[in-house]
């Protein structure tokens, strides 16, 4: 099972097993990763599952869709490595993915 590392805003590092087919947002909620609100449940209407992807990993992800890019502007503090975790589907190739949770989602 791919392993994903979430760094919470308080510095806590969470390494969790992630089932392929779920999204990075869904795994965070299942595993109780702190700081991901995911208000809308993955429908691209809230931008509260914002994460910063480790630079090494950013280009290895399927690029953000136009709709996701538009929603990223709706996050609290967008950066070049921002993604919405509900749009990152876990596949075996993402074993080792590292993301950081922002200080706030709204």
């Amino acid at each position: 099972m791919p392993i994903i590392t979430y760094t919470q805003d308080d510095g806590t590092v969470r390494r969790v097993d992630a089932a392929a087919g779920l999204t990075v947002m869904e795994v965070a909620l299942q595993q109780g990763v702190s700081g991901i609100a995911a208000d809308c449940g993955g429908a691209l209407s809230c931008a509260t599952c914002h994460v910063y992807v480790a630079p090494d990993w950013f280009d290895r992800l399927v690029p953000a869709s136009e709709d996701e890019l538009a929603m990223l502007e709706f996050t609290f503090d967008p950066q070049p490595n921002s993604r919405l975790s509900c749009q990152i589907e876990i596949v075996p190739a993402l074993d080792g993915l590292e993301v950081a949770v922002p200080a706030r989602q709204f």
Binding site: S34, C40, G41, S45, M71
Partner: protein
Amino acid sequence: MTAGSSPQSELRIPPHVSLDRVVWFDFRHDAGLHADPHARLEELRRAGPALFTPHSRALTGPGTWIFTSSAAIRAIFQDPETFASGGVRPFGQLIGDSWPLIPIDIDPPDHARYRRVLNPMFSPARMAQLEPAIARRAAEIAGPLIARGDCEFIADFAQPFPVSIFLELFGLPLERLRDFIGFNEAILKGEGEAQVAAIRGLRDLLREEILRRRKQPSEDLLSELLTARIDGRAFDDDELTGLAVTLFLAGLDTVTSTLGYMFLYLAQAQSAQSLLRDKPELIGGAVEELLRMFNVVMTARRATRDTVIDGVEIRKGDNVALPTSLISRDPAEVESPDEADFMRVDNRHSAFGYGIHRCLGSHLARRELGAALRCWTSTMPPFTKPAQVRPVSTGIGVFSLARLDLTWA
């Protein structure tokens, strides 16, 4: 029979509805809902996971399914192809117009195209810029009340505070604040001719304001809608009307309603109120926790095809009511859901809805609610509610307190 309601004889139970699912829940006249909407919804939860009331939640039409489990409510929100919003609020049709409410009554794929244009207008970064003005407005409205020793919180604060901020954002004249509140009440809570007249009045007024900005653009959101582009073109007149009416109705009512329940709670829970006075750093957590406890919206969808939810057969055309309070207070998901805990960690609630139609204005709403709590727990004396007055709620899609009397020494 109450004026305007359907006579009992017209209420029918369709053949596909099993009788053990039926509750006679009247969205407009239910006494329990008027006494305490959140407690009444919990009663429905105890009545079963899938209920059918022969009463319509909408203006007309057949009965309504009410799902009470978080899983079912979320599943319906997440499936806009099967559970559509189109035509759920036919305000334009009521006055013979063709504009729909945009984006709330728009289904995929068009819905995302509109939200893409609107999202940046209500982004956290833009709303954060308004924070000083929002705090100032709260102080301006609450300040003069101090010397009085009491107030009717809804009319004296909960209405003028968010409505005046909204009117300013929209560039609408503040001196007509009471007219705008009147339109809003008549459209969302009225029925019959008064409702039709209010829709027409609001449409005419907004069209006039749009026309004025075509000639002389200004810095407000209405002007921004005129210059916005969707697929490379400007919005047409119907789209502009549908957008303006929707933003108006959504922006005027929900924060007022939420403030009412928040302050009713704080007036009764003196320890929670003094906690916020002593520890203002808890205000952010208090906003989220009180939002969670007092969801004010019970939205609706219409089935576009036959389907099965929670083992229940739904037929094409069936109406579904979605009380998000039942997600936010679900004991299976939230520890001690009826207790306010301002330090709750990862407080995930559905006060802003769920799925593609989740609230566009949440970042504005959160800032307004925070400013109101900060103002009333820092500059106002400790307030209570006269014990003999029982609060009464109104509303179908949005619950709100009819009035809230507060006193202080």
